[in-house]
Point group: C2
Chain length 298, copies 2
């Protein structure tokens, strides 16, 4: 069976990069954006511009626009719909409610503090992890169709539930945004001398808050409860004796990164167990997928 | 008057880079390290290896070694002594007590999470800020001699008191190390899935805790009270409504960076006012120094 066509709605950094990467790989890809400049930029990269969406439909718009993004567009009734939003619970509630098992929530863990079609990079997904939701109602053949799109642009697919995803990204993305904001604002309170002496550790620790504030706010407010829980874990860590805290943090960032290959049957529980173990799917075969889990033996 | 020779004690990343940069610029530079491999590496870059220290003596050893680093070495009684330690109050109390006005505390705001002579880079100081302490007892001609060493390797010199320095670096370096450690440790608590999904914002936010834990612990414990005060400011920021916090942090990292050139008379108060305004010294002339302060007019 040939790979289905892909239709990308929203041709900014993420959507435009995905469409460009697929077009560069020779896959039929169409797209739409409300911004004519984004449409023109995508067309120049080989993306067919149309409001008629078919195959795998990828919604690559900001979270606040997600619920209404399909208004005025024509979606093939057989199409599989996925999204690239950075929070999955609210999107599942909204689009999963409208589309049922045809909707497969996703979130590629890439993107930079830049945004918009000027920031398009067809190599953006190479080596990235791409969270892809397997809910009780998810139709697995559709999940695989979306997974193949992610694999086609060089990503590794992490099977998750929306709730697992939102708790995890609170810890590794949403809280880092809040810490970066607090670090920057507190340094400004400390005064011009502090900002003048700021070097590598401050630049690294605050870089992510250079992102569009509306995007960051929508993300942390759209994932409020998991973000609060994850922030509370950080605050508890900060209560530890400093030498203990430093050693614990150092051990995490310098942990060994061994991998053990696995074959995963096409079943929801088996897929999710790979994600929970910290592993990913790297290849689809006929009756199973291949991937890896962390190797605890090294 | 020709530039005085420079003697560097400790030829790891910072000291080795300084010695190498000075040697590359044709300045007479000697050095010592207890590690024969570090001595050999420095000798290969044109550094004369000796225990006899003269001219501007630069102590580039870890904080715990600072108080006893001169034991067993021969220091010219007329030499000016400076250091590169990341906390200035304790070093001033220790070496300032031994050396009086001949000691000028310093701290170049560079270095990476790597360490040791393998991490030597003669370009390390280019464009970096270099805090240099002007205390009530500092002999200004000696301060200028050290400032010239910093300027010679491409740094900009920020005049500070030790107390001002320690408060500032708590905010922009020591607290970032603790936040990075807490972020990493809390993400590990969240589980393998969270770590598997970790991408740019987590890598940036935790990079600095890849540094040697003994070095980081000595730094934050050596600057305990200012670090606690700076951390408290971060914790207070984290209590703000999230949209407000995000906007405040974003404004700091995207602030305009205008500069206004200034001429600064060779007086303690005038030099310190430039540092407090967030400015730096960039050039020494006969009767004054040149530099810049932030331009509030843009």
């Amino acid at each position: 069976m040939p790979a289905p066509p892909v239709s990308v709605v929203g041709l900014g950094q993420l959507g435009g990069s995905l469409a460009a990467a697929l077009a560069a790989a020779g896959r039929p890809v169409s797209g739409w954006d409300t911004d004519p400049a984004a449409r023109d930029a995508a067309a120049a990269r080989g993306v067919r511009i149309t409001r008629e969406l078919t195959g795998v439909v990828v919604l690559a718009v900001p979270l606040p626009a997600m619920a209404t993004v399909l208004d005025g567009l024509v979606v093939d009734p057989g199409a599989t719909v996925t999204d690239l939003g950075s929070v999955k619970g609210p999107v599942l509630a909204s689009l999963g409610g409208q589309l049922g098992g045809r909707f497969v929530g996703g979130h590629p863990m890439c993107g930079t503090e830049r945004s918009g079609h000027e920031a398009v990079d067809p190599g953006l997904f190479a080596g990235a992890r791409w969270a892809l939701c397997v809910e009780p109602g998810t139709e697995l053949p559709r999940w695989l169709r979306v997974a193949e799109v992610a694999l086609a642009v060089g990503a590794e697919v992490v099977p998750v539930t929306a709730a697992e995803h939102d708790a995890a990204v609170a810890a590794i993305s949403h809280v880092p945004h809040l810490l970066a904001a607090a670090l920057a604002a507190a340094a400004a309170e400390a005064g011009p001398l502090a900002l003048a002496l700021a070097a590598g550790s401050f630049r690294d620790g605050t870089r992510v808050i250079g992102s569009d504030p509306a995007f960051v706010t929508a993300m942390v407010e759209g994932n409020a409860a998991p973000t609060t829980a994850a922030l509370d874990r950080v605050l508890a860590q900060l209560q530890r004796p400093r030498s203990e805290l430093v050693a614990a943090g150092h051990a995490v960032v310098t942990r060994p990164a061994g991998r053990r290959p696995v074959r995963i049957p096409l079943e929801r529980a088996a897929l999710l167990s790979v994600g929970r173990a910290g592993g990913a799917v790297t290849r689809r075969l006929a009756a199973f997928v291949e991937g890896w889990v962390p190797d605890a033996g090294d």
